[in-house]
């Protein structure tokens, strides 16, 4: 007959899982909880990418839009291959697409290095060095395995709330409240730390790739001027524009020192939007 697992053994196994699933970011020394393998994460990203592109999106084939995006991405990946992420940067199957959506000033990345740039980000980036700040940010999200970390955090949070519900006899309303507290107190701060990490390391990679890092500050100023009523920072997945500008300013001397030693990249203006 099986005896039930003693509570201390259960706690020990959970702790062991967490310890085994931890990694340290080589730039910021931040501990990361990673409960899924890199291979599994990359496969998830690959499937999500295929599905995203098969949906109702218009992928741009206009060389005026695509060429600078591919050129910048390539330079930043080459810089990443000389960085602390060299092995991962060499192993990823990088891909980038421009999606025609002039009203979306955004860009995103999936695990394994699948990057999408909306044309709506062009007026914010303005020129190639501005777009390098955006692409550098996305490249770092992939290299730092932020996707896997978020999946891991949410898994642990869900299990934690479920266990608490069972053992503390919480009713559904209390469970909802616990979820909200967890989101505001744990998941959102982690999300903002991922964004800051991507801003910081992305700034260094873009500088190493030969793009003027000071343009990143102007990008976030333009984003700030163009934004319509953003939510308070503590309720947001991202740091506020002001926080990002202050952080970038603080990191600028380090980035400028790297930029000075880099082989300078072309810095042409990005094409105007067709819809404007």
């Amino acid at each position: 007959m099986h005896s039930p697992c003693p509570p201390h053994m259960l706690i020990l196994s959970v702790l062991l899982t967490l310890v085994v699933g931890c990694a340290m970011n080589p730039y910021t020394n931040r501990l990361q909880l990673l409960l899924i393998s890199e291979e599994e994460e990359i496969n998830m990203g690959r499937r999500a990418w295929a599905e995203s592109l098969s949906r109702n999106v218009t992928i741009s084939h206009d060389p005026a839009q695509v060429d600078p995006v591919r050129r910048i991405t390539q330079r930043i990946i080459e810089a990443a291959k000389q960085s602390k992420y060299a092995e991962r940067a060499k192993a990823f199957e990088w891909d980038v697409n421009v999606i025609e959506a002039d009203d979306i000033p955004n860009a995103w990345v999936l695990p394994g290095g699948k990057i999408a740039i909306y044309t709506g980000i062009f007026p914010i980036a303005k020129k190639e060095s501005g777009l390098a700040a955006i692409i550098g940010h996305e490249v770092v999200h992939a290299l730092a395995r932020h996707g896997a970390e978020r999946v891991s955090q949410r898994s642990v949070s869900s299990v934690g709330v479920s266990l608490a519900s069972v053992f503390l006899g919480m009713n559904p309303a209390a469970g909802q409240l616990a979820n909200l507290a967890l989101a505001g107190g744990v998941l959102l701060p982690f999300s903002r730390s991922h964004e800051s990490e991507a801003d910081y390391i992305g700034l260094l990679l873009a500088a190493r790739a030969g793009y003027d890092p000071e343009e990143s500050i102007r990008v976030w100023r333009r984003m700030s001027h163009g934004s319509k009523g953003s939510r308070p920072e503590f309720l947001s997945t991202h740091p506020s524009h002001d926080t990002r500008i202050a952080d970038l300013t603080e990191w600028m001397p380090e980035a400028l020192a790297i930029y000075k030693q880099s082989q300078k990249a072309p810095d042409a203006a990005l094409p105007p939007l067709r819809s404007r």
Binding site: I104, L110, R150, S191, G226
Partner: protein, 42 residues
């Protein structure tokens, strides 16, 4: 992280993958990493 904007393509691949139920539930909200939470310009 904030869910992608209304026009951001959200992958539904997780409906069919073999991963655990828990991962399926959480991953769709976690995989896409955007540069900005801004949905549209004023």
């Amino acid at each position: 992280m904030m869910p992608p904007t209304a026009k951001t393509p959200r992958p539904s691949f997780l409906r069919t993958q073999e991963s655990s139920l828990l991962l399926r539930a959480v991953a769709s909200q976690s995989l896409i990493l955007e540069v900005s939470p801004v949905a549209c310009l004023g």
